[in-house]
Amino acid sequence: MSSHLSRYRFSKRRTDRVAVFGWLVIALFALAAVFAGFLAPYDYAAQSRAEPSAPATRIHFNGLTPIIHPLRIDDALRRTYSEDTSVASPLRFFVRGYSYKLFGIIRTDLHLFGVGSTSGNAPRINLLGADQLGRDRFSRLLYAIRFSLIVASVGVLVASLVGILIGGVSGYAGRFVDTLLMGATDAMLALPTLILILGVRAAFPLELPITRAALLLLLIFALTGWAEMARLTRGLVLSLRQREFVVAAVALGVSEARVLFRHILPNILPSLRTQALLLLPTFLLAEVALSYLGVGLQEPEPSLGNMLTAASDLELLRSQPFSVLSPALAVLFFTLGVRLIGRSERT
């Protein structure tokens, strides 16, 4: 999956527009991650036992005021609900709700939107419905995006550093070291990564708290994700080694490490940055896969993967496919955004 895509190119103008769209998608995800607490109307773990698996709340308009009606359970077993239109609660912007820390520092209870009335039995607004414990899926999705993005980005950073180091040394040292390191890289690229990841995962206890789970994911990414970066770095280093400014630096007696890190590395950094960006969805998906399989981040903590386990409830999937699969759609958009950027960067 690399340079051979570059020949399919649009005109420059269209490429730029496509890339802007990609960046927009990424920016949206970044905003969702940073402002998860502000955007989420409810705490991701807050349960509302009265409405398990409730469908997405319908928003009505009374004049210009958006209102919602509380839900009544029609059939507890089949989880069908209907709206109680005799009661109406207005939706408001900038309401007070549960307290959280903005940017992880400022404690506040301000939220972008919420139900205006503060009485105890005010209806809840679940933009994407509620899960089987009555937790707001929209709020959980925001926190899940935050967790997945943080872990994937740090993972890319760690794996890239490992890959750049291995590839740089391999390309610069040449001979035996090169053969050995590139052999390992080729093996790594060919092996069934997800099975290896699961193998590594098997070495650790099944249930982990959130920080341990994040650290474990990072370790797994560092162990299994460096190969593509290593191969790219090696190729770039090899081509730069012959250039005059590198030869000149070597002739001046500059140490090998200094040549590699001060003269070669800055020149290949833009290409490496693109590759790092392309790795982002790979790692995001690895996290999604592990959590989906029940060996990544565990409940009650939300992650894109463990939210998708709700899809195994086929009845629910049939009646609310969009809500249940919203984490999958988020993953899809993110991957598409990154691909669009990567494709225009390559041309």
Partner: protein, 294 residues
């Protein structure tokens, strides 16, 4: 060699992390510490790591991968049994990808049309950016929408939906590689010569362009086997198929270390064989490689 290193590293990781199938027994008040120690001795778990690895390896080369601590049956039998379903699914995925990529890129090059190039371009983008897990979930939605009753995991429709989900990244890689190679080859001098001889465009492509363009694609086919095996974990789990992928998941959840090791060994061997097969096909296709000593 590669397989040796992979198995050793996995074994070491599993060993160093501590904990095995017997750790769970500690939580059971009815089983005394002595019993566990005796069991550890019976299974040879009290031995140091290198000795355990050596024992595992020497029996592995004879085809004995030990006994699954969770399923209580020999690992090799279990892995063989489950690999059949995964093999079928993987073959179907490869077939779908090739059946799409080969005709499309041939037609695209033959008529040199911008419309087909745009279609190929779009298809590459869509298949490259739709993750297997998303596709598999979509396939699940489709099947619950159209199935009247509970879904039947052995149905043919579900099988092909699963194969389609598994094949998406393959379609993008094969298509990009084959179309790209063909376009590059068509600019070569020997193609100009073939055209100058007065051959029809189709004859130029089939007699002169395909062979040289095929070799890089064969490499890719061999290399994508690992991705397919990894992807089968997801596709099988989502669509409820009993295969190697789901076996691996249950092994990890039950911390069934012999089974985990067995599957890792089996899949790495399969990948290695796949790459060797790819190289062999290249030699069949290209006389220059054959002359190098095949």
């Amino acid at each position: 060699m590669m397989i040796l290193v992979v198995s050793a590293v996995t074994f070491a990781l599993l060993g160093f992390a501590g904990g095995d199938a017997l750790t769970e027994l500690r939580n059971n008040p009815q089983i005394s510490e002595q019993t566990i120690e005796r069991l550890r001795h019976v299974y040879g778990l009290d031995q140091p790591l290198p000795i355990r690895y050596w024992r595992w390896l020497s029996s592995a080369v004879t085809g004995d991968l030990g006994e699954s601590t969770y399923f209580r049956v020999p690992v090799s039998a279990l892995v063989w049994m489950r690999s059949v379903s995964t093999f079928q699914l993987g073959t179907a995925a490869f077939a779908i990808a090739l059946a799409l990529a080969v005709p499309l890129s041939l037609v695209g090059v033959r008529y040199n049309s911008t419309t087909i190039a745009a279609v190929i371009d779009l298809l590459i983008l869509v298949t490259a950016s739709t993750p297997r897990i998303v596709l598999a979930l979509f396939a699940l939605v489709i099947s619950v929408r159209f199935a009247s009753s509970a879904i039947d995991s052995s149905s043919a429709v579900l099988f092909w939906l699963a194969a389609l989900a598994l094949s998406a990244p393959l379609i993008s890689v094969f298509l990009a590689q084959l179309h790209g190679e063909l376009q590059r080859t068509m600019r070569e001098d020997f193609i100009k010569l073939a055209r100058a001889k007065g051959l029809s465009e189709s004859a130029v492509i089939f007699r002169h362009a395909i062979r040289p363009a095929l070799n890089p694609v064969l490499t890719i086919v061999g290399l994508s086997l690992g991705g397919v095996l990894g992807g089968s974990v997801i596709v099988e789990s989502v669509l409820g198929r009993q295969g190697l992928g789901t076996l691996m998941v249950s092994a990890v959840r039950a911390r069934d270390l012999p089974l985990v090791m067995g599957i890792v060994l089996f899949t790495s061997t399969a990948v290695w064989l796949g790459n060797a097969l790819g190289e062999l096909l290249q030699a069949v296709n290209d006389k220059r490689i054959r002359d190098l000593g095949f």
